[in-house]
Symmetry: none
Subunit: 423 residues, 2 copies
């Protein structure tokens, strides 16, 4: 036997001049990094290079000496500056062959979207002949899994994040899991919190965070903090036995700030709670302009609980559709406790829902005054038990879209807290 | 004289295990990339590595052979895993010396923020003795500008974006400008298209895409294709003179598929067109649940044109608020040309707007039938001139959120095309 294969690490190579020019942020590298850590694949380096064939070739040769798996994104499109597959094949002296079935599929997809296939699309069906294909269910650029050397495998993905993610989840991740030398398996669970800062959470869990197995890693997102618990063990059962008591302890310490697990979001949790109680919800949005509705509607099956809403951007809409008295708006202004209450109560009547949420505020950049500064937002939640109001004051340095998104999350959380306190 | 200095390119090296774990997105690399392109410094590669001294040393040695300027972020903090300065000094066999004035400044800053200086903070005052200092006006981690080799300079910055940016703008950028051999500047413009595939666009512009200056680079996003034009020239005026006729030619060839430039989006363009005509818009959304409204509302000043809308998820809402006749829904179903028309026309009356857009469809994953399959979406656009209907059939492999987002973009484009055809 020859020297044992000792490399078992991954590197990420993102190809695209748009990344080097700073046109887009490299969100793919972040997403893949997180996925690699879930699988437990070690990952020491990421590289970004442009659409230049010599540099792509050189980088692949160097990477083949350092890593077991090279995850490549970008450069799979139909245009002349899409060079990834060509560069890989030339480095390892493999010929590109057209896969007939892929070319047929590409043409069908283009036609389904109302485009006529062009000769340049044909390039996307060319692959090294030994490569496995990573099907692309939503685009025309399939990827490959190819091991040109015994201890080196390249996986390619398009740069479009939605396509890359689908291909990763549906094909690549299982292949990677079953082709690593890991005798230990990693089991991981993500806990999601809201209404608590990352540093406060870290303080509450300080003693647990020093443990070696399972490990705890918190990180802050917009309006939420995620905590990833990762256990390493020989079997899934042992992993579960390591994680379960830890979760019980964390739940005890963090109380109602813990809102969900893994892929759950505030909207999915709220809809799940409503479904359990067979209750319905409607909304009235001003400064968020539909963002709360879109957040609920993004969850499959939302229509069972979510009846609809009114986007009451203009005051006439508040009066006509939500029956907010003109006098209230004149006396207190559209951004006030009185008006947000009338919006929620009006919506609940109009839609005949069990719950109604209303949002009104000043998302900026214009529209702030001394009495009603930029970043002032009111939320109201109403049900047969009455109305709760919440006043939010966002830092005026936050931009419009952040204020809108945070307002939506706070509104969902207001409903969540009411639902769990009653169950 | 010895061999002339021929390297004149920059590389970016971001140091931090949090980047490799996917805890944060590498926004620093994007920001610095954009800055480098403004200065016209060529930039072929970015690397991300973790807090590991051997890998940092190896990466710096390799980079010193490839690039003239190495821009390093991260690893300047006070904790043991902050290794950047130490690694740089050891590679080039320089001793680290404490800069007294920096240590005094660090202590003063910590005290001003209510912290007492700890011995570990003292590390942040250590620098190679020949290095220039990049002052950090808002944090305790200054950076360095150091040329350990005649044709290689390292610039270091903390990983905290706000500190890095201030230090770049106040010190580094001027130093770089006056120390490059660059007589050329880069000017770039992004054109945005919809309703055309990346490959079709590349075909239309094939002859232009082969030019060396300006260069053209297309890339596909969700529902749009971007085309970046980049010109290199001695002055900004000459750059504009290179780009302007090219844009004119592209506009001629691509017609109404070109919707905007640089930071513009379909929503911002549609709102700009409405503002120019002093016209208003309202919406009625079913399967997108508020996404169209949120997209419009994300643009500052939207409230001048966007009156509001109805999220008519449930059929009772279509009947009660949008006055869609029950009979139409019974006869044709909620997802039909007849109902989408009634939704748009109903909304336009209720809101008294110049324009109304309605969306109804089956975003899935459930709810599809043989007659009305998953991915079937109807759009209607109505104004005083009548109603236009558009039927979309999305590939059923697309997921719910993608179908919702694409439906919103197609609806905005329907309005855009009507607005430009009338102007």
């Amino acid at each position: 036997m020859t020297k044992q294969n000792t490399k078992n690490n991954a590197e990420i190579l993102c190809i695209g001049t748009e990344l080097l020019l700073g046109n887009i942020v490299n969100s793919n590298a972040r997403w893949i990094s997180e996925e690699l850590s879930y699988i437990g694949l070690e990952h020491y380096q990421q590289i970004v290079i442009g659409d230049n064939i010599e540099r792509i070739q050189k980088t692949i040769i160097d990477a083949s000496k350092r890593c077991r798996f090279l995850i490549v994104t970008g450069g799979l499109g139909p245009t002349p500056d899409d060079l990834t597959t060509e560069a890989i094949a030339s480095v390892f002296k493999s010929e590109l062959k057209e896969r007939k079935e892929i070319w047929i599929e590409i043409q069908a997809k283009l036609r389904a979207n109302g485009h006529s296939p062009s000769p340049s699309n044909r390039k996307q069906a060319l692959m090294p002949k030994e490569a496995l294909v990573i099907p692309n269910p939503i685009g025309t650029a399939p990827g490959i899994i190819w091991s040109p050397l015994p201890d080196f495998t390249i996986l390619t993905f398009p740069g479009v994040p939605s396509e890359m993610k689908r291909m990763w989840k549906e094909t690549a991740v299982d292949w990677l899991k079953s082709n690593t030398n890991n005798t230990q398996i990693l089991l991981s669970k993500v806990l999601k919190f809201t209404g608590i800062s990352e540093s406060k959470l870290a303080e509450l869990l300080e003693d647990l965070m020093n443990k070696k197995n399972p490990t705890l890693a918190p990180y802050a997102g917009l309006g939420e903090v995620k905590l990833r618990i990762t256990a390493m063990s020989e079997t899934k059962e042992k992993g579960i036995n390591l994680i379960t008591p830890l979760i019980t302890e964390i739940v005890k310490r963090t109380g109602e700030t813990l809102f969900g697990f893994d892929e759950e979001s505030l909207s999915s949790v709220v809809l799940k709670l409503l479904r359990q109680r067979n209750e319905t919800i409607c909304i009235a949005e001003s400064c968020t302009g539909g963002g709360l509705g879109a957040s609920l509607a993004s969850i499959p099956g939302a229509s069972d609980m979510f009846l609809g809403g009114v986007i009451a951007y203009n005051n006439s809409v508040k009066r006509n559709l939500l029956k907010v008295p003109s006098q209230l708006i004149q006396e207190h202004g559209a951004v006030s406790k009185q008006v947000v209450t009338a919006m929620a109560e009006g919506a609940r009547k109009v839609f005949g829902a069990d719950w109604a949420i209303a949002i009104t505020g000043i998302a900026g950049p214009g529209g702030g005054t001394k009495q009603k500064p930029l970043g002032l937002v009111y939320l109201a939640l109403t049900s047969c038990e009455g109305t709760k109001i919440s006043q939010l004051k966002f830092d005026k340095a936050k931009d419009r879209q952040v204020i809108q998104q945070l307002s939506v999350l706070r509104a969902l959380n207001l409903l969540r807290l009411s639902l769990i306190s009653r169950s």
